[in-house]
């Protein structure tokens, strides 16, 4: 066992911080791996902060925080909950949960994990600016947290919460003394967690370097040295992958996938989770408020053809508004049927109207997708007008429910039915389409209050079917999750963009 790092008392200064880093550097290291080049993971975005409570994106910031820190519960790739800093939990009453902490866990600076520290972290997440990114309190309905004993934390929610575990999975725990006594910018640039990797260095605008934590409670991860590097240009990332200087390339799109194949690299694919759709705004032009019109739009578009051509068959069409495996297998996709579409439009009395089709540059193929959708709509007698938005303007319009017609968008990558469906409730802030069905809202409220899992699942399924048939979106496909990978890296990517490099290993 490596020697424990000294536990500090008193405020942490830059000097004492550097002393800790120096001490960490003296920890014994496995020497067998010394000659192996670090595993390099790229991203198109830069790392802006490594504050555990300011995770702005799943990758690269989320991937780094997941490597450096631990949360009480970790989200597995299939959406189930893995005990991490908590070894177990129980719902002692509909609104009170008890979490038992893992004993003997130490942070990278030597501080011991205890319940009071967890409470301190949760309270930090509830203040600006951290509460902007860390949504534990607002989204789960958490109202109080307390340390019952050194290894038990009690969480109280305002109403029975079925999404508490989901939001806890994004609530990471840092050492109390360091978070409390250090300037926020230093916390953001020199992260100290308890995760499987230790922070080594951050060259801003370039790369973050990590090293395996030999003292990790779950054992040191198989790969010792890891570098996260920002390379904004996809072509440059592809060049690097083929040149052998990177191991994992994120942000690959179907058009470029073939370019990632070389003697040293290939493509890895998992089923994506982000639900790509054309949102049908219900606060704009009148025809779109008619369910028949929205169903007609879904019948008018040949989604399968677009999946086969535009997406090059790298994905499948949406099966539901809830991601697999929780979706209702009985739901049927809207069949491509222009006749039916025309008939429904005729029946609704809204044939031949003009409609705006908005998109921005966030998704690689937004314009092509909208052009194709537009031409399908034209074929059933509508008059779509394509409109390109700057990304910031698009986000603002989306938030303000300002789109008068249709908009191309992808909804968050999640596997948690109740979190996924929130966006379809009338009062949800991010309900961009403005879809509002009081019957759905009532069922959703009931589902949130029920503690019995089976009863809740039945209610969720009921809401799911109602939303699906109300057609608030033109359902398209799951955003393909494609990764370029060097042959030496053995790793199964997650569908939600997080890179869990501690689960990877190098080929023999």
């Amino acid at each position: 066992m490596p020697p424990a790092l000294p536990v500090r008392s008193g405020p942490i200064t830059r000097r004492s911080f550097n002393a800790t880093l120096a001490a960490a550097a003296l920890l014994p290291r496995p020497t067998a791996a010394a000659s192996i080049a670090p595993v390099v993971i790229t991203s198109d975005e830069d790392v802006t902060t490594l504050d555990p409570h300011l995770i702005r994106n799943n990758h690269p910031i989320g991937s780094l925080i997941w490597s450096l820190f631990d949360s009480l519960v970790r989200r597995r790739p299939d959406g189930t909950h893995e005990p991490r800093l908590a070894t177990g939990w129980s719902q002692v009453s509909p609104t009170v949960w008890h979490f038992t902490l893992r004993p003997g866990v130490t942070f990278h600076d030597g501080e011991r994990l205890d319940a009071a520290g967890v409470v301190f972290n949760f309270n930090r997440m509830n203040q600006a600016p951290w509460n902007g990114e860390c949504q534990l309190w607002q989204q789960s309905g958490l109202v109080a947290c307390a340390a019952l004993d050194p290894l038990t934390v009690a969480l109280t929610t305002a109403a029975p919460s079925s999404t508490l575990l989901y939001w806890l999975e994004e609530a990471f725990i840092g050492p109390t003394a360091y978070l409390r006594d250090t300037a926020p910018e230093l916390v953001g640039s020199h992260p100290i967690g308890s995760g499987p990797y230790l922070f080594v260095s951050w060259q801003r605008g370039s790369q973050v370097t990590l090293r395996a934590n030999p003292a990790y409670w779950g054992g040191a991860p198989p790969i010792r040295d890891v570098v996260f590097r920002a390379v904004p240009e996809l072509s440059a990332r592809l060049d690097e992958l083929k040149g052998g200087s990177i191991d994992l390339l994120t942000g690959l799109d179907p058009d470029s996938a073939a370019l990632a194949v070389s003697p040293v690299s290939g493509v890895r694919q998992v089923r994506g989770l982000r639900k790509m759709h054309v949102g049908i705004a219900q606060h704009g032009i009148a025809p779109l408020r008619d369910r028949l019109v929205r169903q007609a739009l879904n019948h008018a578009v040949d989604v399968q053809l677009m999946v086969d051509t535009l997406q090059r068959g790298t994905t499948t069409r949406l099966l539901s508004v809830i991601n697999p495996p929780n979706n209702d297998p009985a739901l049927q996709p809207f069949a491509y049927d222009p006749q039916q579409a025309r008939a429904l439009l005729h029946q609704s009395g809204h044939a031949g109207f003009a409609v705006e089709l908005a998109f921005d540059g966030r998704y690689a193929d937004a314009q092509e997708t909208c052009e194709a959708v537009g031409s399908f709509l034209e074929a059933v007698g509508l008059h779509p007008v394509l409109k390109a938005y700057e990304s910031g303007h698009f986000a603002e319009t989306l938030r303000a429910r300002g789109f008068p017609g249709l908009y191309f968008y992808g909804f968050a990558a999640q596997i948690e039915p109740l979190v996924e469906l929130v966006v379809f409730t009338g009062s949800a802030i991010d309900n961009a389409s403005g879809y509002d069905n009081p019957a759905v809202d009532a069922v959703m409220r009931q589902a949130a209050d029920v503690t019995d899992a089976d009863a809740r699942a039945a209610l969720v399924r009921q809401a799911e079917g109602m939303i699906w048939n109300d057609a608030p979106w033109i359902y398209l496909w799951y955003l393909p999750a494609l990764y370029g990978s060097s042959h030496r890296l053995e790793y199964t990517p997650r569908p939600d963009d997080y890179v869990e490099i501690y689960r990877a290993r190098l080929a023999a």
Partner: protein
């Protein structure tokens, strides 16, 4: 015979015009300050015209209370003139505020990335000057191969977009031939491709300017006279000729250096070079006003300083610029 061919007979004008020069310098400095003020105001206004950064900083489902709290935390809830006044007041003390994205003070952030950009721009500038100048002179005085090479290079340099050229260079020299590293983190070998990409446009412009200037100068009387005095041809071309085309070249080089700083944006993105250009692109995308204002202001400061330096340098090469004289003619070697 023109009197300008015998400048050694004339008294040096330098000492006599020094008060004028300092006055000219003062005018240039106050001009520079006005430019910087304009830059700060324009950046502020344009940045704020793009919209509300809070929307981009927060997740889509953030409640209104969180938005208001963040806007207050960032100082965005104050009226625009107050925000600008505070920005100016703090900027004068070297404090450009705190980046929304990074949560860190802007000035150190920019100063951390500035060396990378300066390294890249300086390397590109050296290539442009060391290759462009001789190429221009050679092609004007010799013609033939040098002239053809210049034509080709300048056509490529002017016509090819930097991002495409950069990617092609990487594909050929790094991925196919393995002569240079693909990535841009490390020693001098990592600098070659980005610097080469960045330099080509400047190289083309400088060599064309030198070429046309030299072609004009080499027909002049004083060159003929220099040849008549029996001076060796290299001295006629490289000393008497070149010095007389240097003034526009130095002025141009000053602007080129500024241009290189701004063109570096594209090259930095292509080569993942951690410089000020990439930082400003990121700031723009995220509506990180303090960071954007900081990067643009510091880049503007650099641009203004370089131009000031070029002006001073021109005055040293051609004293008539300092003295305000307007007579045409040549400068003595």
């Amino acid at each position: 015979m023109s009197d300008t061919t015998l400048p050694s007979l004339k008294p040096s004008p330098r000492r006599a015009t020094s008060p004028l020069r300092s006055r000219a310098l003062r005018a240039r400095v106050s001009h520079a300050l006005a430019v910087l003020f304009g830059v700060s105001l324009l950046t502020f206004l344009v940045a704020h015209a793009t919209g509300d950064p809070v929307t981009l900083l927060l997740p889509a489902n953030a409640p209104e209370a969180t938005r208001i709290a963040l806007a207050h935390h960032l100082g965005l809830d104050q009226p625009l003139p107050v925000q600008y006044g505070l920005f100016l007041l703090h900027a004068l003390q070297g404090d450009f505020g705190r980046s929304f994205l990074y949560g860190q003070p802007v000035a150190p952030l920019v100063l951390q990335t500035l060396p990378a950009t300066l390294e890249l721009a300086a390397a590109a500038f050296c290539i442009a000057l060391l290759v462009g100048l001789p190429l221009g002179v050679l092609s004007a005085s010799r013609g033939g191969v040098a002239s053809a090479a210049l034509q080709l290079l300048s056509m490529l340099g002017l016509a090819m977009p930097a991002f495409w050229l950069g990617l092609m260079l990487v594909l050929v020299f790094a991925v196919q031939l393995h002569l240079l590293p693909v990535d841009s983190s490390g020693g001098v070998s990592h600098l070659v491709l980005p610097a080469l990409t960045l330099s080509l446009l400047s190289l083309a412009r400088i060599s064309r300017l030198v070429r046309s200037g030299m072609q004009e100068i080499l027909d002049r009387d004083f060159i003929r006279t220099a040849r008549a005095r029996g001076l060796p041809e290299w001295r006629v071309v490289w000393v008497h000729g070149l010095r007389n085309v240097l003034v526009p070249v130095v002025t141009m080089a000053g602007m080129e250096l500024g241009d290189l700083l701004s063109s570096a944006v594209v090259v930095e993105v292509v080569f993942a070079w951690p410089g000020i250009g990439r930082l400003s692109v990121e700031a723009l995308g995220a509506r990180d006003f303090p960071l954007l204002q900081g990067t643009v202001f510091i880049a503007g400061l650099g641009f203004v300083l370089i131009n000031l330096l070029a002006d001073i340098l021109c005055a040293r090469i051609d004293p008539r610029i300092a003295s305000g004289a307007t007579s045409s003619g040549s400068i003595a070697p």
